[in-house]
Homo-oligomer: 520 residues x 2
């Protein structure tokens, strides 16, 4: 901020040279746009004088972000309302936290992903970063307010400087819908309820068949130990296993051996385990496995899984869940159960089963699924990281990846050509001829004061046909048509837009008559 004008002018000159150079060497449009944007930002710091009134800049939203138009908002609101309904059915209370946190709150919580955090510019105050998820802010909130139990939901946008893939619903600014249960309770009761919540949400949204994969971090650690992974490599190897949903085993093995220095034989042993998935019988089988039996962590993880599967069966989820040893979850903070709700491949040709079978290994590992739409797990130590005395508050929670759900629904709607209504207008107030705008305002006022959703043309003398067309286009159910002769008798015409039937209604009875019609 203390740069002098001359310094900025010099920077503008240099940046201008860079842009010209990039253009000359035909760099990618994106790269050039970025540098042009820096150039314009520099010019902008000089204030109004340096920039022409209609400055030419790329008219766009930031990379990886998007606007929501009214149709998209209607779809989005419908999804969020259904999710909130499920959260409330389970006794959730809402909280909200700021969009940014002190940078140090986020530090050391996300492992390899920390590089994706958005930082704010140091403008001479606190050092801030945009929230990366809603879990760390919850932990900070609980520690700060010394709350030892809560069942809370939080629906808000989070920020990650990731490579966006927007057609598949992957953005840099995206919604998370989180439900978490904090408190010291008996094992797996809260955990199983979170799995139930995922199932209820995916059922109510009706976006296709799904499976909820379950695993346990303690079992993973025990399994790594049983295979001979050194303890200080558990998180790194876990993070490699996490990639199995996107990459074939060969690639993951390569990462373990070549990047993370694991012994090849050890990796192969892991490979045997992470291929396994099943139900209660698989737990039995693994509890009898001599290598795992010898490792206390593995036994504890398996016993936890056994209890979880039992509770899930009581919740009627047997057909929806799969105990899956390849599930690892990326984030560092999980300590117990982890789970992920995954949509199965669309059976339509667009689901391209042929392509999946081209690399058989991947299809086998993935079990024929696409796109994780929910995930979560238990994190018993995160709140303690914020408490001055390290007091822990055990937590388990779930996060719904609604952007992917929005994109599935948007594609569905685009294909169906159904036009969603984006406003709730019940009555349109029209003029049959010129000179009636003041009468319109009087009638509108009467309707609004009666709580009826009404609108009109903002023109003094709109054409009747244009007004009625507006009603049909916007699916407004009723129209009132004002005319001098009727008004002289204290009546107006009430028209049902779809049937085009009209009847006369006394002005004083208008709100009641409209309510009657709308109830039909």
């Amino acid at each position: 901020m203390s740069d002098t004008r001359d310094q900025i002018l010099e920077q503008i000159k240099l940046q201008g040279d860079l842009v010209r150079q990039l253009k000359a060497s035909k760099e990618s449009k994106e790269k050039i746009d970025e540098e042009v944007s820096r150039l314009l930002a520099l010019k902008a710091t000089l204030g109004g004088d340096a920039t022409p009134a209609n400055q030419k800049f790329t008219l766009k939203t930031p990379k990886g972000t998007r606007d929501y138009a009214p149709q998209q908002m209607t779809l989005r609101q419908g999804v969020l309302d259904k999710i909130v309904q499920v959260f409330k059915r389970h006794g959730g209370e809402a909280i909200d936290t700021p969009v940014f946190e002190l940078k140090e709150v986020l530090t050391g919580k996300y492992g390899e992903d920390s590089k994706l955090i958005y930082d704010l510019k140091d403008q001479g105050g606190e050092i801030l970063s945009m929230r990366y998820d809603l879990t760390v802010p919850l932990a900070r909130y609980l520690a700060m307010n010394k709350i030892s139990s809560i069942k809370r939901y939080h629906i808000a946008k989070v920020y990650r400087r990731d490579n966006p893939a927007m057609t598949r619903g992957r953005y840099r600014e995206f919604y998370q819908c989180d439900f978490d249960i904090a408190g010291t309770y008996d094992p797996m009761l809260a955990d199983a309820e979170c799995v139930k919540i995922v199932a209820e949400i995916l059922n109510t949204l009706d976006i296709g068949d799904y499976v909820i994969k379950l695993n346990h971090r303690q079992l993973l650690d025990g399994m790594f130990e049983a295979c001979g992974v050194p303890a200080n490599c558990f998180r790194a190897i876990c993070s490699a296993v996490d990639k199995l949903d996107k990459s074939p085993w060969e690639d993951v093995r390569k990462e373990m051996v070549e990047e993370k220095g694991l012994d090849g034989a050890t990796a192969d042993k892991i490979g045997e385990y992470v291929r396994l998935s099943g139900g209660a019988d698989l737990v039995e089988q693994l509890l009898a496995d001599p290598k795992l039996k010898a490792v206390p962590n593995a036994v504890k993880g398996l016993e936890g899984m056994q209890l979880l599967l039992k509770y899930c069966a009581l919740f009627g989820l047997e057909q929806r869940i799969s105990f899956d040893l390849s599930l690892a979850r990326g984030l560092d903070y999980y300590t117990g159960v982890i789970y992920e709700g995954v949509l199965k491949v669309d059976p339509s040709p667009a689901g391209s089963p042929a392509k999946s079978s081209q690399n058989g290994e991947q299809a086998m590992e993935q079990g024929g699924t696409v796109g994780s739409v929910a995930g979560g797990g238990r994190y018993d130590n995160l709140v303690g990281m914020f408490d001055p005395r390290g007091k822990a508050v055990p937590c388990v929670g779930v996060s719904i990846g609604v952007e992917r759900i929005f994109s599935v629904l948007e594609a569905k709607f685009a294909a169906s050509k159904v036009k969603l209504r984006t406003s709730d207008v019940e009555v349109y107030v029209a003029s049959a001829h010129k000179g009636l705008h003041e009468q319109r305002l009087r009638v509108l006022n009467q309707l609004w004061d009666a709580g009826i959703k009404a609108e009109h043309s903002y023109k003094l003398n709109p054409k009747l046909l244009a007004q009625l067309q507006h009603c049909e286009e916007h699916q407004i159910p009723l129209a009132i048509v004002l005319g001098d002769s009727e008004l002289a008798q204290g009546i107006v015409k009430l028209r049902e837009v779809t049937t085009r039937q009209e009847s006369s209604v006394p002005l004083v009875e208008l709100p009641d008559e409209i309510r009657r019609r709308l109830q039909k």
Copy 2:
């Protein structure tokens, strides 16, 4: 990001010295906290090794921001729901835009306030800033999508690096609730509807008596011209007039003369006008004023005001509005009508009329009012600033300052000692004795699948008394008490929590019976 470890260690040393120095010279706690926070952020960049597991840092939200606890969320959601209801009654469609924009989108739109914009750190991509309001993003959205008419609402947080005054509801992160009408229409029809919307919202929120002040930028410019202000000083003088709601005329005059170089006699002429407020009769009086009559801008502004007052009267707003020549609004982009909804002084002793009368001038200027809770106006040129060909889309809109409304309501609730319910749980499922947790899960599952909001203790064997106390504390209307003897007969006890009356209900009829009870 390319700093080496040694460089960072050096920076840490210097920053540590600074902190010690500040502490030694007994600087303000806030200043010290800020520098400590920078120190910790520096240490954090070194990764996990440099920071102990339970690093000691101030556990807080960023300056000027706050968390919303469940009680506050319940209050907030109630207010936002009521506002959305009004927006929808007027046919509003929702949109949403990203929380940040390319910096250049915001540049040159906010006049003197631009220094309050939050910038993001340059992490090697686009140069971004946090949105400062919802109006400029709307204009960008309209120009980008070539939309020439829309009636949209947008409820979202905006960001200003202002001096927070949180007890009075002034934050750095705060909600705005905007409704705007874009399109080329006949004069004042959309403008009057925005005033109506402000009135409906303030009526429905029921937070005390209010007045909506109205003025017109064209009239202000015409009045400045009539008083002899040079044309290139209009915006600066307008910005001084804007301070009349917080400062007495003497201070504003001083700013005009001493800071902005205005002739003293000219300032005094302005002083005569900005003291005036009234209704349609004041418009008549000013239309007859020889100085104003000679200035076309003033006449146009007055004629606009005349039409607006007429339409407002048709909307039943005569007692709610005041044409007020001291109203100026801070933002640069207004071109026509401007308005502000202001709560009148609380008549209680806390409203301290004595204090107001101490500086009579100020009290007179303010007309005995506190706190603006809504504001807006017409901005016909903003969209054109984004359009490559300068194509204008005339707009008029209103923004509701909900934070101030939240703080009024929070104070009201704190005083009333009423405890808001923060969850919607309808039924609590309790165990009468040990060993019933699996039965509880079965009953819960039955209730959830029937859409009933239900919860239980996450303990295997909770005490009955503790469970019933939970119901009373959380105002849960119904409890189901499970016991072996009843379960053997296929029945459970259903208890009304307030009356403590219990009756036996067959398990299979439970959801229906609960619905019946809840309807009562």
